[in-house]
Amino acid sequence: MTEVAVNNVWKEYDGQAVLERVNLDVAAHSFISIVGPSGCGKSTFLRMLLSQETPSRGQILIDGQPLPPEPTEERGVVFQRYSVFPHLTVLQNVAFGLEVKAAPILGRLFGAKRRALFEQCREIIAAVGLEAAQDKYPAQLSGGMQQRLAIAQALIKKPKVLLLDEPFGALDPGIRADMHVLMLKLFEETGLTVFMVTHDLKEAFHLGTRLIAFDRYKTRPEEIGVYGATITFDLTLDRACAGQKKEAMAELQDKVAFPAAV
């Protein structure tokens, strides 16, 4: 169970503020949906959680500890694309995280050890529904299957925090609904803390236990660059309560002013 604290974080590029005064306390086992118009810094925020970028000011704590300066095992990630290794099969992709741990020099195992490790991976491959495809290469999988693989690959390391950057953005609506079911199941089973950036408000409300929106509060052209975006909307969601979601969605669409069905 992992808590995340974001304390007064700023991000500036060449003196241009992208994010400012971001403060957030996330309880353990939360599913945080992050929404906002394009260019509002939500992906930047996710990259900072990943240590792909560092805050210009302020700090981020995971379980009270400052973030390490580079990506580590405690934070898993699924990107919209290029999340899996094209030269490895499904099974090898999932086993990768365990293999590099077991074999520091060669990065891979051989013989009986390798077979035993692959056996360990089958459970999670089955959990994401890829048993039949375990010897295929990513290029032979559909977009949805590739994302399932990316999720399995990240989860096998049992990260404390899972970061999702528009993970279902490139998928067909039907496939996306399947992925939502899978994601909710895995979220409940693993006790993870999840951050998901999405363009899809419905998805954000459906999956999240809490929803935050980033936006610029100063929008005059001469002010852009001086003032960054920050959290303008923060709502705890009750999965059981559909009425609350509808109201909040309507309110958010007015407030954040971005198209509903992107």
């Binding site: 990943l50 792909q52 580079e70 990506p71 580590t72 095992e73 934070r75 898993g76 990630v77 990107f79 694309r81 290029y82 999340s83 899996v84 290794f85 094209p86 030269h87 490895l88 099969t89 990768f96 995280g97 590099v100 741990k101 520091p104 020099i105 060669l106 990065g107 891979r108 295929k136 290469y137 290029a139 032979q140 990316a150 690959q153 990240a154 390391k157 990260p159």
Partner: protein, 275 residues
């Protein structure tokens, strides 16, 4: 309805005939030109007739040379292919190490990338005299010329390919706990090997160029040496088969490398079929 020209494709047999046609025309042109010249002057050496060519081929490819006892074509081929193979092997190994290190390690890139860029601009033929002075006229200077000629290109190309890799993959590998070394070994290297082989295929032309140049200037055996040797006697009947033979060797090595890529990297084929 008649289709546009850009939508019309030849059948399989059509492909074969169309592909062979230029060769047939070239051979026909040669035979005609040759017989015209020979009719005017039976001693003409410039365009020897097909029978003379065949005779010369038998002489160099099947009958031992009366002076050395070797069959010339095979001795030359073995010498040249050894030099070419050694040169390319060394160049590929160097390029693999430096190219990947330059692509993935910012500190190595800062130190080596500029010098590789400058060295790649040196015309290799201009340093051949230096190589002869330093390494002597033996095998080594020829191998080194090939290495100097193709390595900088291979290094720069591989560096660019490594830097083109999606950042997502490297980040993902880090979140899965891989060290820098493991990322190189398990993520970068396997994906770069087929790219490197592709670049080596492109380097085959320059490599042959450097080989034949070096052999032409100083050698005792080799395909390039032989061509330049018999040039003194206007022996077109030997030069032409040698050129055809070199072309065939280059073509076969290109095809072999392509086949090796397909067999060794099944994931690449999977991607090609899918896209």
């Amino acid at each position: 309805m008649a289709r546009r020209l850009i939508n019309r494709h030849p059948s399989r047999i059509g492909l074969l005939y169309l592909g062979l046609l230029p060769f047939v025309i070239l051979i026909g042109l040669y035979a005609t030109g040759s017989s015209l010249r020979l009719a005017a002057n039976p001693n003409d050496k410039l365009l020897p007739g097909l029978a003379t060519l065949a005779e010369a081929i038998v002489r160099v490819a099947f009958i031992p040379d009366h002076r050395t006892g070797d069959i010339l074509l095979w001795a030359d081929t073995a010498a040249s292919l050894t030099r070419l193979g050694l040169g390319l092997a060394v160049a590929t190994t160097l390029a693999l190490v430096v190219g990947i290190a330059n692509g993935i390690l910012p500190y190595v890139r800062a130190g080596l990338s500029p010098v590789v860029a400058v060295v790649s601009m040196i015309p290799p033929m201009a340093v051949l005299p230096i190589l002869f002075i330093i390494f002597g006229l033996d095998e080594l200077s020829k191998v080194v010329l090939i290495v100097i000629g193709v390595t900088p290109f291979l290094m720069r190309d591989l560096q660019a390919r490594v830097m083109e890799m999606p950042a997502e993959q490297l980040i993902k590998a880090q979140t899965l706990g891989a060290s820098s070394w493991q990322i190189v070994l398990r993520v970068v290297l396997p994906q770069m090997l087929p790219r490197l082989i592709d670049s080596v295929r492109l380097s085959l032309g320059p490599a042959w160029l450097f080989l034949i140049s070096a052999e032409a200037i100083a050698a005792e055996v080799g395909l390039g040496y032989r061509i330049f040797l018999v040039r003194r006697y206007l022996a077109m009947d030997v030069i032409l088969p040698y050129v055809a033979w070199i072309t065939l060797l280059a073509l076969l090595s290109d095809l072999a490398l392509r086949a090796a890529t397909r067999a060794a990297f099944p994931w690449l084929e999977a991607g090609r079929r899918a896209s």
